[in-house]
Subunit: 261 residues, 2 copies
């Protein structure tokens, strides 16, 4: 019997050209679909919520597929993870993609269209010394960052705004650039600064421009009080720089009533 | 004037086919030589101490070159690091290779032949949960490891022994398989176990077989009291498995009198 299966997926995006399948580049969707298809001996097509860019990671991405795969849903993570690790070199290798959970959904459930919100986390390492082993996983900023200013500035993003100032060109066409940010937090633990943003949806590069703008605030290049004006300008040139992709993590994807969370 | 320059180098070996230059594969030596050569506008050839394998990392590798490069020795790290980062994609990218130090040596100094010892560190993550973001940087062992047993077993390696049981085939021919281990430590911090080994030299895969054998001891597959017998057997099949390359770090390279350290 065909089931509609929703997967929760973590991935290290370092060596992939993003989520979306491409004919001649390694992608997360492509790698996962080919693994699932050869494992279950039928063509499996994934419908993902978010087409993350090259270098962007996920702690809890979601994608669904419809198929009769002949194994209990709760066994999917173990079976698929074994297959993914089997594609790596060496007997102990861990795959860059990992299934964290699989659940059965109603036939009319759609991973992308039914999504009501997402949380992204952006990781910054604020230290004078470079750690080359973290270069694919954090944005290294060697100048001191004023975390209080960053927190004050972040408040301005909360609520429903037209975020045109925080959109890069080159994304898919959108009906509207109005989005709602339910929550944004800036936390610090030793040298690691994390910006966590939850919203109903995000424009192209929106979290990376928010992160870059907050870094510019932390470095004193942008005044925290200027944020409302920058948002209102609806002009990309008013906001700060676009932070690099490798600091960005798709952390959670929500279905159902997100505002009550 | 030609100088003999000794570099201290850290590298993330994840995406390299090891140190040694190869015609058709990305290597640390190849990447660094081509960066230095185009930066200083003359052919720079590096003489390294250790030809680490694919996936192996370095915290403090050493390599020397002779050239008249026209800049003060103390500026070399900054200038070369800028050039290395310039070869990466994106404005904020950190290179996988980093020069930590540069010093001038006498004309007859040779990075490899004058080396009197090295410290390697082997990193194990002992946890039930997999962390995909560390998969290139630690050996993940999900079964519990008895650290006390590992420490007891490690004592047997200290001193001068014929380490034939701890050599893989396929390395360069050696005059002797006798080596001296000055020190070996097994430390634990939360889920991370580190094996730190200092010796006058190491056979092919020796540290990885020591690490794999200690993991087998920690899992109860090998008795710590068996270690002296395993060493004495001079037979690779008596020792434990070869731990994967990505947990291994060349930590320090010594010149001069190492035994008094």
């Amino acid at each position: 019997m065909e089931k509609n299966i929703l997967l929760t997926i973590a991935y290290d995006g370092s060596n992939f050209s993003g989520w979306q399948k491409q004919p001649a580049a390694p992608t997360i969707q492509g790698h996962l679909e080919s693994t699932l298809s050869s494992l279950f001996k039928k063509e499996i097509l994934l419908s993902g919520t978010s087409r993350t860019d090259a270098g962007v990671h996920a702690l809890g991405a979601k994608a669904s597929f419809k198929a009769d795969i002949g194994i209990p849903t709760e066994k999917i993570p173990m079976v698929v993870n074994n297959a993914l690790c089997g594609r790596e070199k060496g007997p102990f290798a861990i795959a860059p993609i990992r299934i964290l959970d699989a659940e059965e959904k109603p036939a009319d459930f759609h991973a992308r269209f039914d999504c009501t919100g997402k949380t992204y986390v952006y990781k910054i390492m604020n230290s004078t010394e470079v750690d080359i082993f973290k270069r694919n996983y954090v944005y290294h900023v060697d100048k001191p960052l004023d975390i209080k200013k960053m927190r004050n500035a972040a408040e301005a993003f909360k609520g429903t705004h037209d975020f045109k100032s925080f959109e890069s060109s080159g994304g898919n066409p959108r009906e509207t650039t109005v989005r709602t940010i339910f929550d944004i937090k800036v936390t610090q633990s030793d040298e690691l600064i994390e910006i966590s943003v939850t919203g109903d949806g995000f424009l192209y590069n929106m979290v990376r421009i928010i992160a870059g703008t907050l870094v510019d605030v932390g470095r004193g290049k942008i005044d925290p009080d200027d944020l409302p004006r920058i948002i209102e300008a609806k002009d990309r040139t008013q906001a700060g720089h676009t932070a690099p992709p490798y600091g960005l993590y798709l952390a959670e994807v929500y279905y159902g009533d997100i505002e009550r969370r």
